[in-house]
């Protein structure tokens, strides 16, 4: 899909083009919303507001090539609003992990890793390592200085290294020493 063309068409009012763009970024929006809100219903509410707001205002986007950044920024703002409204307190401990189907083990592993991070680092990690966004774009999406993004990534690297080392070591142990 030619994203810039599709964005320009959407800006002209094409609902089809707008729907194509949203569907293209659906997974990405899910990942970002989940990293902030966790609760499925809250994620659904956030994405609904995001889609409606984006549809209303897409014509005001001056540079179509930045649609993705702009969309994620709206989503993050909506997620933060819901988060603040619900006063959610995320406990960083094993109790957060839902009972799982063994087939979802690898999913839980990834989420366990992320849940081991401090809150302000999770979204940056998702955007950088899963969405492959550069630092500058992350700073625009989250509306924070680039320096803050870099320092959060640095802290995240340290924490992730510890978590992943433990996992790697345990896996090696499980594979070779049990």
């Amino acid at each position: 899909m030619n994203l810039i063309c599709e964005t320009k068409l959407a800006q002209k009012g094409s609902k089809k083009a707008f729907c194509s763009l949203i569907q293209y970024y659906e997974k990405e929006m899910y990942i970002v919303a989940k990293s902030i809100l966790h609760n499925e219903t809250d994620c659904c509410d956030a994405v609904q507001e995001t889609i409606l707001k984006a549809f209303e205002n897409i014509a005001q986007l001056k540079q179509p090539e930045y649609f993705r950044t702009w969309l994620l920024k709206i989503l993050v703002n909506n997620c933060n609003q819901i988060y603040r409204k619900n006063h959610k307190v995320i406990l960083i401990n094993e109790a957060n992990i839902e009972s799982i189907d063994p087939d979802e083990y690898s999913d839980i592993e990834a989420r366990q890793v992320l849940d081991g991070l401090e809150e302000d680092l999770k979204t940056v990690v998702i955007l950088f390592y899963f969405d492959d966004l550069p630092v500058k774009t992350i700073s625009q999406v989250l509306d924070i200085p680039e320096g803050t993004v870099k320092s959060r990534l640095s802290r995240a690297r340290t924490q992730l290294s510890k978590i992943l080392s433990r996992e790697k070591g345990r896996s090696y142990y499980e594979q070779h020493l049990l």
Binding site: M1, N2, I4, C5, E6, K8, L9, Q11, K12, G13, S14, K15, K16, A17, F18, C19, S20, I22, Q23, E26, K27, Y30, I31, A33, K34, E40, T41, C43, C44, V47, Q48, I51, L52, F55, E56, A59, Q60, E104, Y105, S106, D107, E109, A110, R111, V113, L114, F128, Y129, F130, R157, T158, L160, S161, K162, L164, S165, R166, E167, K168
Partner: protein, 454 residues
């Protein structure tokens, strides 16, 4: 002691943990689909309250005594469409329903319903039964202030139509219109409809309606031509294998249904053919919308395109495939600008198309641009085209902010539109311009003649 991993190592290790974190939950996916489905097919912009009703001077409309009789409530207090041809057409073919359902403190009444072979349209009134009104936010009626819902026939959800509209009345009620596109279905003259609203006046709830609809009266003024002819349209790098299935000329609007089988080589974006110029038997270009009710799978598509202008008696259509290049500059044409000294004012937007501005009206509550399209102008139905107004100093009258705009079709037979912008200082002189469409290659050598004899 663990070392600090590099970004590449972290990314690899995270991805080894499994990619299931990327899987969208069914609940999330459903909400996305519901929200997209509920979006109107034209952009919703600023709406204007019925605070000051002036006599609406609309050009080129034939006014008859019939207009005052039978005109349905929705149009009676509509500040733009009150005396339009649209109001006349729906008055002629609508029926009273008068069903009311209440939920979450909101009453929704379906006042009227109208149906032809292409469209099912209902007109409603929504009110808060505690007398609360929607907050007037500077003439903006947000989508969530109106009624959102879907139509079902025989347990099948119908695609959204092109006619969604809503406004705030003096007494704080919402009057609205919702539609479904039924052009791709084969329905009998009389059938049962289930309309389910899931949101109204900023509240989620369930408002369920069942009623019978008749299109028998409209069918008397309808021509349906089953074409069923296959063509292969060749573009430089890909092909479209299409079947022109049906042309339907009805009171509420005309449609041409084109299906397509996806066979390699496909266009880079995988989209079906939807850029073409359409002409009647007199060589007049017909205006058509981008598809509504698009069915697009991996194997193909089936799209109903609405087109307007042209007479119901026309003997044929001609379809000329178009290859658009929006990122290419149009040679010899820049954004056209003209003064408001005399009308019509022609603004050329492509090498084969122009916008004809018939009048610009400055009222206390809005600025109205009346226009029609000449030749090939893409996407008339969605944004209503991007007009801009320059003040006496040549500066954007809206200060480079894209003014939220609303477009109405005033007359589908003649192809006349009005574009609504925020109010401006009437004492200033303005120039008007619009953005050029883009560069197109017309594949005239692959023009398709479609005879309309049954």
């Amino acid at each position: 002691m663990s070392s600090i991993y590099s970004d590449k190592e972290i990314k690899t290790l995270l991805n080894e943990k499994g990619n299931n974190i990327n899987d969208v939950s069914p609940q999330f996916h459903q909400r996305v689909q519901e929200t997209l489905f509920s979006l109107p097919d034209k952009k919703r912009g600023k709406r204007f309250t019925f605070a000051a009703v002036a006599a609406v001077m609309v050009l080129m409309l034939s006014v008859s005594g019939v207009y005052g009789e039978g005109i349905i409530d929705f149009f009676k207090t509509h500040i733009v469409l009150g005396n339009s041809n649209e109001a006349r057409v729906f008055a002629e073919y609508s029926e009273l329903v008068g069903q009311t359902v209440s939920d979450q403190g909101v009453n929704i009444t379906i006042d009227n319903v109208a149906c032809d072979d292409n469209y099912l349209v209902l007109f409603y009134t929504a009110s808060d039964n505690e007398g609360k009104t929607i907050k007037d936010q500077g003439h903006i009626l947000k989508k969530t202030d109106s009624v959102l819902g879907a139509f079902w026939v025989n347990d099948e959800r119908l695609p959204n139509g092109e006619r969604d509209d809503a406004y705030l009345t003096r007494d704080g009620k919402i009057k609205g219109m919702l539609s479904a596109n039924i052009s791709k279905l084969s329905l009998p003259d009389n059938f049962e409809v289930n309309f389910k609203a899931f949101a109204a006046m900023n509240k989620h709830g369930e408002w369920d309606f069942k009623f019978t609809v008749s299109k028998a009266a409209a069918m008397k003024e309808t021509r349906i031509v089953n074409v069923n002819k296959e063509y292969t349209v060749k573009y430089p790098d890909y092909e479209h294998h299409i079947n022109i299935e049906k042309v339907s000329l009805t009171p509420f609007g005309n449609s041409i249904i084109i299906s397509e089988k996806f066979i390699d080589p496909l266009p880079e974006d995988g989209s079906p053919m939807h850029f073409f110029a359409l002409y009647d038997d007199k060589g007049q270009t017909l205006d058509y919308t981008f598809p509504s009710g698009c069915t697009h799978s991996e194997k193909g598509s089936r799209i109903s395109f609405e087109f307007i202008k042209g007479s119901k008696e026309m003997k044929s259509l001609k379809l000329v495939p178009v290859d658009p290049h929006f990122d290419r500059p149009v040679k010899g044409i820049s954004n056209p600008i003209g003064t408001l000294d005399s009308f019509p004012l022609e603004l050329k937007v492509s090498d084969r198309g122009s916008v004809l501005v018939k009048d610009v009206e400055f009222t206390d509550t809005d600025t109205r641009i009346y226009y029609s399209l000449n030749g090939y102008v893409v996407d008339w139905g969605a944004s209503g085209h991007e007009f801009f107004l320059l003040d006496e100093n040549g500066q954007d009258a809206f200060k480079n902010s894209y003014p939220c705009q609303w477009m109405y079709v005033l007359d589908r037979e003649k192809g006349e539109y009005v574009h609504i912008l925020p109010p401006l200082d009437k004492n200033q002189d303005y120039s008007i311009g619009c953005c050029i469409d883009g560069y197109y290659d017309y594949l005239d050598d692959q023009a398709i003649e479609i005879p309309l004899s049954n």
